[in-house]
C-alpha cells in the first residue's frame, strides 16, 4: 500500500523492503533487556528526589532518635553516651515543655477553626455565578501571599498600642496586647489564621467546584432553599475538603514560627507563654545550643503531626460523606 499514490497499484514490495531495513534483528531490543531498560530509566528518574529525601528528610529523621537517646560527653573527644529515654522523659516532664505544649494547643485552637470556617464561609460566598466573581475569588485567596515576616510587620502596625487603629477604635490593652501573657498568643494566632484563610478558601472552593453539579441541581429542583442546599447538601459533600483544610491548617499552625518570631521575638515579655513547640525547638537549638532537647521537642511535634495526618486519612478513607 502506498498513500502517496493512492490510486495507482502500488509496489508494496519495494517500499516494504526499505522500511524493513530499519528494524533489523540486531536493532530489536529483545524483551528482557527492554524491560531492564525501563527499570533502569525508572530508577534513574526517581534517583534525584530519592537522594535529596534520604539526606534531608530521612537521615535527619532517624538522627533525631540518636539525639534523643545519646548525649554528648563533656569531653568532646569521648563518644556520646547512651542515656536511653532518660533525656526524653526529663525533657517532656519539664514544666517548660508542658508550658510549650499548652501554648501550642491554645495557638492551634485559636487559629485553625477560624481559618477553616472562614475559608468555608468565603467559599460559599464566592461559589456563585456573578459577573466579576473572579475578582472576589482572587481577593479571598490573597492572604496566601502573606509571609510570616510581612504579616508580622503589618500587624505590628495594626496592633500598635500607642497610635493607629487600636486607640482609634477605643481599644486599650494593659499591658500591650503583644506583651500580654494571656492575650499575646491568641492575638498571634489570629494573625496566623488570617494568613491561612486564603489557602483554606482555595481548598474549599476547589472542593465545591468538584461537587457533582447534578446533585445540587436536583436539590434546587426539589425546591430546596439556598440555605438548606448549603447545609444539607454542600457541606456534607464538602467534608473531605474540610478535613483536608483542617489538617493543612493544623500543620501550618504547628509550624507558625515566623509570625511569632517577628511579632514577639525570643525576648518578648510573655515568652514562656508563646513558646510553642516549634519555637521551643528553635530556641533550644539556636539560643541554648541544646540539640538533644530540641530533638525531644521535635519528636513530639512529629508525633502530633503524624496523628493529625492519620486521623485525616482514616476519616477520608471511611468516606465520611463521599459523593459516591
Amino acid at each position: 500500500m502506498s498513500i502517496t499514490t493512492p490510486d495507482a497499484p502500488a509496489s508494496p514490495k519495494k517500499q516494504r523492503d526499505s522500511r524493513l531495513a530499519l528494524p533489523t534483528k540486531s536493532d530489536h531490543v529483545r524483551g528482557g533487556s527492554y524491560k531492564r531498560r525501563e527499570s533502569a530509566l525508572g530508577l534513574a528518574l526517581v534517583l534525584p528526589a530519592t537522594i535529596f529525601f534520604a539526606v534531608f528528610s530521612f537521615y535527619p529523621f532517624f538522627k533525631n532518635f540518636y539525639e534523643i537517646l545519646y548525649v554528648p560527653s563533656i569531653n568532646i573527644n569521648n563518644p556520646a553516651k547512651f542515656v536511653g529515654l532518660t533525656q526524653f522523659w526529663d525533657t517532656i516532664s519539664s514544666s517548660s515543655f508542658l508550658d510549650s505544649l499548652r501554648s501550642t494547643a491554645i495557638f492551634v485552637v485559636c487559629s485553625v477553626p477560624l481559618g477553616v470556617l472562614g475559608g468555608i464561609f468565603l467559599a460559599v460566598l464566592a461559589h456563585q455565578k456573578l459577573r466579576g466573581i473572579a475578582f472576589f475569588r482572587t481577593a479571598f485567596s490573597s492572604t496566601i501571599v502573606s509571609s510570616a515576616a510581612v504579616a508580622g510587620a503589618v500587624f505590628g502596625v495594626l496592633l500598635n498600642p500607642a497610635d493607629g487603629f487600636l486607640p482609634w477604635l477605643g481599644i486599650h490593652f494593659s499591658p500591650n496586647i503583644l506583651e500580654s501573657p494571656t492575650l499575646a498568643l491568641p492575638a498571634v494566632a489570629l494573625i496566623s489564621s488570617w494568613q491561612f484563610v486564603g489557602l483554606s478558601f482555595i481548598i474549599m472552593i476547589a472542593g465545591m467546584q468538584s461537587l457533582p453539579e447534578e446533585v445540587l441541581e436536583a436539590a434546587s429542583m426539589d425546591g430546596a432553599s439556598s440555605w438548606t442546599k448549603t447545609w444539607r447538601v454542600t457541606m456534607p459533600l464538602l467534608s473531605p475538603s474540610i478535613f483536608f483544610a483542617s489538617v493543612v491548617g493544623v500543620i501550618f499552625s504547628l509550624q507558625s514560627l515566623g509570625v511569632i518570631d517577628v511579632t514577639i521575638g525570643p525576648y518578648g515579655a510573655p515568652y514562656t507563654h508563646t513558646n510553642v513547640l516549634i519555637y521551643a525547638i528553635y530556641n533550644q537549638f539556636v539560643q541554648y545550643n541544646n540539640p538533644g532537647s530540641a530533638a525531644c521537642y521535635a519528636f513530639v511535634l512529629f508525633v502530633i503531626t503524624l496523628i493529625v495526618t492519620l486521623v485525616q486519612f482514616r476519616l477520608v478513607e471511611k468516606r465520611v460523606h463521599y459523593g459516591q
Binding site: 527499570s39 530509566l41 525508572g42 528518574l45 526517581v46 534525584p48 528526589a49 530519592t50 535529596f52 529525601f53 534531608f56 528528610s57 537521615y59 535527619p60 529523621f61 533525631n64 539525639e67 460566598l125 464566592a126 456573578l130 472576589f136 482572587t138 481577593a139 490573597s142 492572604t143 496566601i144 501571599v145 502573606s146 509571609s147 510570616a148 515576616a149 510581612v150 510587620a153 503589618v154 500587624f155 505590628g156 502596625v157 495594626l158 500598635n160 500607642a162 497610635d163 493607629g164 487603629f165 482609634w168 482555595i202 481548598i203 476547589a206 472542593g207 475538603s241 504547628l254 509550624q255 514560627l257 515566623g258 528553635y282 537549638f285 539556636v286 530540641a294 521535635a298 511535634l301 477520608v316
Partner: protein, 278 residues
Amino acid sequence: MASKHVRRARVNKVVRYAVLTVFAIIIVFPLYIVFLDAVLSNSQIATTPPTLFTFHPHWNNFAVAWRVGGVSHYLFNSILQTSIIVMAQLVTSILAAFAFAFLDFPFKRTLFVIMISTLMIPFEVTLVTNVQTVSSLHLFGSTVGLVIPFLATGTGIFLLRQAFMQIPKEMREAAVIDGYSNMQFLRRVAVPLARPGIAALAVFSFLGAWNQYLWPLILTDNNVSIRTLQIGIKSIGGGVDSANVQIAASAIAVFPLLVILIFFQKHLVRSLTAGAVK
C-alpha cells in the same frame, strides 16, 4: 407580578455584591495597609485616627529600603534562592512523577510510599540535623546551603503523578507504537498535557520558597550577604523610626506574589479539584 420578581432579583444581586465587597475589604485590608503604609511617613503611620488614604505618597520609603535597608541585596538573594528551588523542584518532581505514573521498575511502590511519607515529617523535625549536615558540607551561610534541603518535594511528586495519571493510557501506547521513547514521550506529550498541574506546582513552590522563614533565618545569621527578603524585613525592624521602611520592604516582598496570584489563582484551584484532595 413578573416585574416584582425581577425587582426582587435585582435587589438580591445588589445585596450579594455588597456582602462580597464587605468581606473582600476585611480580608484584603491588611494587605492594603502594607501598600498604603509603604508610602506613608512614620508620623503618618503613627497617628490616631489612622491614615486610610493619602494623596501625597512618600515614595522615598522605597528608596531608603532599597539602599539603606539592603532590600536590593535581599531581593536579589530571594529571587536567586526561589528560582533555584522552584526549578529544582519542578525537575525532580516531573522526573519522579513521570516514573511513578508511567514506568515499571523495582521497588516502585515502596519508593512511592517513602516519598509520600516525607509529607509527614515536618521540616522543623529535621532542622537540627540539617544544620549539622549543611555545616559539615561547608555550605552553612552559602546560597547552596540555603536551597539544598528543598530541591525535592513529596507534595510536588504526588501532585504531578496525579496529573500524569490523568493522561489516558492509549496516548502513551500510541506514542510507543510510533516509536517514541519514554523521554521523548515525557517531553512531547506528558509535560505539555500536565502543564496546568505543573504551573500550579510552580506557584505553590514559589510561594513556599519565597516566604521561607526558619531555615534562612538560621542559615543567614552569620552572612548578611545571602540574607533573603523575609529575613531582611525582620532585620530592618519595626521600631518607631523604621516601621515605614519595613513596610516598604514588605510591599516589595508581597508584590510579585500578588501578581502571580492574580494570574494563577484559577490554576491553584484547579490543581486541588477532584483527585488531589483524596
